[in-house]
């Protein structure tokens, strides 16, 4: 090892830059240690003591002294050259001369850049999010809190403050919204129209808005409430505000509400407010009996797809009509040939989901048809999967659960975990159907089919080695205007043999049809 030094005259960098600079130099090839300090007498003596300087040099306190310990002279020389270049580099903007704007570091600074803004999206770690939301509300801004890990104790006063000041606070843990045609968070590009949505579920909102687009209608606003909003403690503050806002909005003709069943008191308030809106309201309390809250202008439905269909019919001035649990013929026609590819031992569905609400809806529908369905997010406690890493009988897994996402991106973005699990399921001789959701839109993986296809082929190869094949069933949630393009993604998946339906509910029913008559 050798040491080398270079003095840079009258060059000042702030201490954060100097620290980052030292780390960058240390990471260069052949460099063991690096330091950049002001060339004061005390620092020089410290460097000599640390043996980073062979001998003392004359102090020059306004100059920067760079020292490196390197494996050889050429590495040291290259590192010092690189270091000097890094230090002298000015940003392109600054080098061109003239004032340069630095990125805003606070909501207030951002407002100065964009004074007409009235909305802020907060995506900080949860521990900082409530304070930022409070600042934004006090500045008179509507807020979308993408951040999770915000306690209900923090959420309640924020929502009360927002309501009392005629502001909307979406979230915390609000992953999806579409405001004035702008998709926010994980959201799809849908056409504008006359249907407004308020949802306590991100993928629920994505499914309903995407299907409305697929059926030829469009969205005014899609408001996310966050998952805690309809709990008794919070009282559905944001959902009630959302209903009021859409009721007043002249562009909104039909309102859709999506949530898991709220507590009784909250449900009663929400339904009462919806009834008072004076507009047709489609209500999807996923898992609740729709007949129990259908009356007057309220139309209860059983699936996310039915919610979209009902909303489109109402927006077109048609009657809502009846909904059936039966599989449409175009899908039931797919079931028989698929069934014939399976051997008698292959009896079970293995659902691997990236969307929490898709998983929940699937468990509900399969339970009604097939009986017991194991899950990490079961409807009934007794159906809880004992080991989430190993499926048994019919199993439906939410891979977006915290258990699976610690230290890795969400499965809508990172497909590795689901791909590995698909191969694992294909190796199980009892697996008949692997059931998937594929979510497009902003925030999601830019090529889900491209991620899935190699794993599907690998899974089929693993099954083929044991003389079997597995049926893949799924639905793609998205639109042709999404960056990934719905039609292209569907074509790639269909060409690979995946049986696709238009909605998550139909995919669950198709999977059930394949395994239920055996």
């Amino acid at each position: 090892m050798i040491t080398a030094k270079r003095m840079i005259k009258n060059l000042y960098r702030d201490s954060v830059s100097l620290m980052q600079f030292s780390e960058k130099v240390r990471a260069l090839e052949g460099i063991q240690q690096a330091s950049a300090v002001m060339a004061t007498e005390n620092n020089i003596s410290l460097l000599v003591e640390a043996r980073l300087l062979a001998e003392a040099v004359p102090p020059s306190p306004n100059d920067l002294l760079i020292v490196v310990e390197a494996q050889d002279e050429s590495a040291a020389s290259a590192a010092l050259d690189a270091a000097e270049a890094m230090l002298k580099q000015k940003s392109a903007d600054t080098a061109q001369g003239g004032p340069k704007k630095v990125p805003p570091r606070s909501i207030e600074m951002a407002l100065e850049t964009l004074p007409a803004a009235n909305f802020v999206l907060i995506s900080t770690p949860g521990e900082y999010a409530a304070a930022e939301a409070q600042k934004a509300l006090q500045l008179g801004l509507h807020v979308m809190m993408f951040s999770d890990n915000v306690s209900i104790a923090e959420e309640i006063p924020l929502k009360q403050y927002a309501r009392d000041h005629n502001l909307l606070l979406m979230g915390p843990d609000c992953g999806t919204a579409i405001i004035n045609g702008v998709p926010l968070g994980f959201a799809n590009v849908v056409r504008r129209g006359d249907i407004g949505v308020v949802a306590a579920s991100g993928t629920g909102l994505q499914q309903v808005t995407s299907l409305i687009d697929r059926f030829g209608a469009g969205i005014t606003q899609a408001i996310g409430t966050g998952g805690h909003d309809l709990k008794a403690e919070v009282g559905g503050i944001t959902m009630l505000q959302g209903i009021d806002a859409l009721a007043k909005d002249p562009a909104t003709k039909v309102i859709v509400l999506v949530s898991k069943p709220p507590s009784a008191g909250v449900a009663s308030n929400v339904l009462e407010r919806a009834a008072q809106s004076g507009k047709p309201v489609v209500v999807e309390f996923i898992g609740a009996d729709p007949a129990s809250f259908s009356s007057g202008n309220l139309f209860g439905v059983k699936t996310l797809e039915d919610a979209a269909v009902a909303a489109v019919r109402l927006s077109q001035g048609q009657a809502v009509g009846e909904f059936t649990d039966a599989l449409p013929e175009r899908y039931s026609a797919l079931a028989q040939p698929a069934r014939e590819t399976l051997n008698p031992e292959q009896k079970y569905i293995r659902g691997l989901f990236s969307g929490g609400t898709f998983c929940y809806e699937t468990v509900l529908l399969l339970t009604q048809t097939l009986g017991k369905v194991f899950s990490n997010t079961p409807i009934r406690k007794e159906d809880s999967l004992p080991d989430v890493w190993k499926s048994q009988e019919h199993t439906v897994i939410d891979l977006g659960d915290d258990l699976f996402t610690q230290g890795r991106p969400h499965p809508m973005i990172d497909f590795r975990l689901r791909n590995e699990r698909m191969v694992q399921e294909a190796k199980d001789p009892q697996t008949a159907v692997i059931l998937l959701d594929i979510v497009l839109g902003y925030g999601s993986n830019m090529d889900p089919a491209g991620e899935l296809l190699p794993a599907i082929r690998q899974a089929q190869a693993a099954a083929a080695e044991q003389g079997r094949s597995v049926v893949f069933v799924g639905s793609v949630c998205g639109t042709d205007s999404d960056p990934q393009n719905l039609s292209q993604q569907e074509k790639l998946l269909r060409d690979a043999g995946v049986l696709l339906t238009d909605s998550n509910a139909q995919a669950a029913r198709l999977a059930a049809a394949i395994v239920s008559r055996r």
């Binding site: 000042y12 954060v16 100097l18 030292s22 002001m38 005390n42 620092n43 000015k90 704007k101 100065e112």
Partner: protein, 305 residues
């Protein structure tokens, strides 16, 4: 571009000076005064106050577009930069002149001791989180982990004793080992001394022997500050006169007025990369110099005079 100054520090000449740009950063620009060995600093609005600072009514503007070496002149309260289309009007700016000595800390009160204990805990946690070279509680232990810690630790006890004995000459001798020591454009040792001086100025009260000590100690430090960077020298120049940034003032005020210690410490330690932490270290470790109580939290923490 013509900007209004929001505030100016008490030591900034109000009407007339000539200067040259010494250094420029995103949020600050230093001007070397032609007739004095110190700097005046132009600051963005969100920056804390400095006794040598001119805060301008403009956020989000990087000041790096003005090159070092550019000449500047203040005439009639308007600061103009040669060949850089910028002028700053100082005439309506309010003067920032708060002094920590007016806060009169009383370390023998239970409230201050509780605040000290809380601040000590917060400081050490932050230093450990940032993996800082200087960690306050480790300075007090033998066999400190880095050479920098060992140097500061070795000087700390003698410096505190000299301050306790009001021996300014000896205090300067020990402090000289800290001047210009450590990383940063304001080296850690200098930042430590600024915190150290802030504590002594705020505790001194009306005792003339303490004030005499501070003036002599300060004068010695200013002379020794020829061995550190020009930016750091300016901070020491003001600290020797009892003038500090608003970040330091707010910290002392939280102690004196029994304010929210946690947020004051958090704000103070987040100045620069390590500067704020080093300043708070100096502040907390200087408090015991004139109050070496056996049952105080600093004694329990191992600060022995």
């Amino acid at each position: 571009m013509h900007l209004q100054a929001l505030s100016i520090g008490e030591s900034v000449p109000r009407d007339h000076f000539d200067a040259v740009v010494q250094s420029a950063f995103d949020s600050a620009l230093n001007l070397r005064l032609a007739e004095e060995d110190r700097l005046v600093t132009l600051l963005q609005a969100e920056h804390y106050e400095l006794p040598q600072g001119i805060r301008i009514w403009q956020k989000g503007l990087s000041l790096q577009f003005i090159d070092p070496g550019t000449r500047a002149a203040l005439r009639g309260g308007i600061l103009r930069f040669e060949s850089a289309a910028l002028s700053v009007d100082l005439r309506a700016a309010r003067v920032w002149d708060r002094r920590v000595s007016h806060l009169r800390l009383q370390p023998d009160t239970a409230a201050l001791q509780a605040a000290w204990a809380a601040a000590w805990q917060l400081l050490n946690a932050e230093q450990r989180r940032k993996n800082a070279d200087l960690i306050a509680e480790i300075l007090l232990q033998p066999g400190a982990r880095s050479l920098l810690s060992q140097r500061v630790g070795a000087l700390l006890g003698p410096l505190l004793r000299a301050a306790a004995d009001l021996d300014a000459k000896l205090a300067v001798d020990h402090a000289r080992g800290l001047i210009g020591l450590g990383p940063g454009v304001t080296p850690s040792g200098d930042d430590f001394l600024i915190g150290f001086l802030a504590a002594l100025w705020s505790i001194a009260g009306d005792a003339p022997e303490r004030e005499n000590f501070l003036r002599a100690f300060g004068a010695g430090l200013v002379a020794a500050a020829q061995h550190t960077s020009e930016i750091s020298r300016t901070y020491l120049f003001h600290a020797a006169r009892g003038q500090f940034s608003s970040a330091v003032f707010d910290l002392v005020a939280a102690f004196a007025l029994q304010g929210e210690i946690s947020s004051a410490v958090q704000a103070a330690v987040h100045v620069g990369h390590t500067s704020g932490m080093d300043t708070v270290t100096g502040f907390l470790l200087a408090v015991p110099a004139w109050y070496p109580r056996v049952n105080a939290p600093w004694t329990a923490a191992g600060v022995l005079i």
